[in-house]
């Protein structure tokens, strides 16, 4: 009896491992098919060309954003969506107006410095601002200098990217606070404007824009806030070293108009089994007004869209509802992300996992995955499946700016992680154009996302 039981238990064990081995083999075959599709038939590259070249800049509230919404809807249907939802949200409408001007006025000469107004900044108007400069390296220094040294001056946050970081995102994380919060902290001590060294790993003359926020709990006064190119920041720093009374004259014409109705665009493949479960992947459709938003984040939008075409191509139905999301307003408000989470909550949509790709369309490295609900552990079991595709570097922190609101609802989130070395060279500049996209790198990213969503659907 005992012997028979042992034999039975042995047989069950063998069967169990055989089933697992067979499943892994099938998954591996299926992943190869998925990559074949992405590397030879996917449309993400031509889609991105259209978005960059036919639509181009598409900041929230702009005509470009409106066109992008209409295009994304059409492109998602073409990719094979069962349904495309336009999900309304009111978005900020900041406009740059005429080109900014910045003159460095030294004793014997006046030099043009390349600058860009930061998103959400107020303008100077036609009269401009002319003042001397006070350079700081951090907020502590600013506080120490205090009102007596700062009042009436332009504060210059001159903080370099730390090139020793391997992940350029770490350098960005350390410096972006001067862009986002610098104005209110400077205004608190009576500054009349702020200039910030562009957040970049590249020593060139392109200024990098990006959003800033006025924190009225710090200062009620809103002062203009602009970014200097790397080279311009060097010039300014040298000039005030030579002569601390050096002046800068600034003009910018940006303003914030009333909010505008816009939309997230959501393409869905209906699930065959779990009608109320969702697995979603998105990028953001809006992009800064100076470039084409190729890497930030046209790449993410077209990479996620391709999941719709994949399911049609494979001829299989997912068990759960699969969504590709083109979020609106990631750059200066996150209203799309918030609207999406609100809608999901109100409709009791159960989100098994949400992925965002917003770190550029470069060659894949892997994913950051939340530990919530065992998601990280689950994805780790697929590491071997992803290894042949060089997308198996799995970190245990996931998400993206558009997913913050979903994460608050305990949705486990994933961030797609491409290589980051080139991203901040062009981030938020007029250089973020389609020619910086490498077709195979874009496709490999899209494939990695498609493969992961496929596995998630199969095992959830």
């Amino acid at each position: 009896m005992n012997f028979k039981l042992n034999r039975l238990s042995f047989s069950i064990t063998i069967l169990f491992f055989s089933v697992i081995a067979l499943a892994q083999k099938n998954d591996s075959i299926q992943l190869r098919k998925i990559y074949d599709f992405y590397l030879t038939e996917s449309k993400c590259y031509s889609n991105l060309e259209h978005l960059c070249k036919k639509i181009g800049p598409r900041l929230s509230g702009s005509k470009g954003a409106e066109d992008a919404v209409a295009w994304a809807k059409k492109a998602m249907y073409e990719a094979g969506a069962d349904t495309v939802i336009l999900q309304p949200c009111m978005v900020p409408h900041w406009v740059r107006g005429k080109a900014e001007q910045c003159q460095l006025i030294e004793k014997n000469k006046s030099t043009k410095l390349n600058v860009t107004a930061l998103g959400s900044s107020v303008g100077t108007g036609e009269k401009g601002i002319k003042a001397s400069i006070i350079e700081v390296k951090n907020f502590e220094e600013l506080e120490k200098l205090g009102e007596k040294n700062i009042k009436g001056k332009i504060v210059f946050y001159n903080v370099f990217f730390n090139q020793a970081h391997v992940k350029t995102g770490s350098a960005y994380g350390e410096t972006v606070k001067f862009r986002s919060k610098g104005a209110s902290y400077a205004a608190k001590y009576g500054a009349v404007a702020t200039l910030v060294r562009s957040m970049t790993s590249l020593a060139d003359d392109e200024p990098h824009t990006g959003n800033m926020n006025y924190d009225t709990s710090v200062s009620k006064i809103k002062i203009p806030s602009l970014a200097l190119s790397y080279v311009a920041a060097d010039k300014l720093s040298q000039a005030i070293k030579n002569d601390p009374t050096t002046l800068v004259e600034l003009k910018c014409y940006c303003e914030t108009l009333p909010d505008v109705l816009s939309y997230n665009v959501i393409g869905q493949i209906n699930g065959s089994t779990n009608k109320n479960n969702y697995i979603v992947a998105g990028g953001h459709l809006d992009a800064w007004d100076n470039g084409e938003g190729a890497h930030d984040d046209g790449a993410g939008v077209v990479q996620c869209m391709e999941i719709l075409r994949l399911y049609k191509k494979l001829g299989v139905k997912p068990k759960n509802n699969i969504r590709a999301i083109a979020f609106m307003n990631e750059e200066n408000g996150l209203r799309g992300g918030e609207a999406y989470a609100k809608f999901a909550k109100e409709n009791n949509e159960k989100h098994l996992a949400a992925l965002e790709t917003d770190a550029g369309g470069h060659t894949p490295r892997g994913f950051g995955v939340d530990t919530l609900n065992g998601l990280y552990k689950k994805v780790m079991t697929w590491q071997k499946l992803l290894a042949p595709y060089f997308a198996d570097r799995i970190g245990n922190e996931g998400g993206g700016a558009d997913l913050i609101a979903l994460e608050k609802l305990n949705v486990p989130c994933i961030g797609f992680e491409p290589d980051t070395q080139r991203y901040f060279d062009i981030h938020h500049t007029k250089q973020d154009t389609f020619d910086k996209i490498h077709k195979r790198e874009l496709e490999l990213g899209s494939a990695a996302i498609g493969a992961l969503l496929y596995l998630l659907d199969l095992y959830y």
Copy 2:
């Protein structure tokens, strides 16, 4: 007694693991220092700029190659070499001569096709070759067609890169045989010349050169052999589909002159302990005559050279002799690699490990490592140390073309493996120029090589 022995054995075990943990921690700190150096102080980028812009093309036997040797010697001393060895070798001296011409002659029109003569090819001379075309996809097809279909014609090997491969090197591996062996196989059946579709993942109009060999055991007749750009290959294929009697007229002026004396350049940091042991890393100094040899393989040369500066910077002496090698003649003869191995054997130099980097200066992925002498196992124990630097993908096949002769002497070899998506876009074309190099990617590759050599020296 027994109890005491157990306690002793327990204490020894604890001590053993503590020592290992401490060593790993120290290694981790040291690697961070190494990367700090490479990312903030190394000179590989400016060195490569010099090599590309001041010297440029440097095919074996050329004035450029001679200048490159002189420069490498100087640069290695400047980097801190204790000694620099110029190791002589006789190299082939193939010259392109005047620019190639290729006209597609259809009934109503004549179209220029972008071509490049392959290295080692004979020329057509001023009289040129005018013949009809026979297109093949593989050698089997060629054999089946035989002399009756091929004689007097130009054989056109029209084989595409398989885009489904994730590693572009795999696609290269499948197609390069038509470039290297295609002429002799075609000559065997009476062909008068060969054209080959460029080995590339990019659908553009740049022809890719590269070496070919005449295999006199297959055919004694040497026929001219050229590569068509991707676009030109498409045009030609379409033209002969439209009309099989379409002609092509070819002119190329290349020839092989007598061998020339040249050199490997070897920079050495003397070992403090194991005076006869060597750990070496190299790239190849020669580069095709059409571009600047930025990725192929100026990158590899400057990346390896930096190991000399690293030891000076760290202020430590390696235990073993460390060498940076700039090999001569990888592209069309491998004479440098052979000379190096011969010298090493004759002088009984014990090579613990040899690394080559010749796959471009793109963002690092890791290393391929020979299993010989336990090298692969050893490197695998450092995977965790390399992980924070994204250089921890360790395969179990190492080496490089310049190391083939060393491998035959049972030296365990390593190949540095950067990301390969962009490499074959520009490989062996006039587009392989310095502007295609990304500073941080180049430095990260150099750092990965430096870190690995440091660990090898420490543990061998």
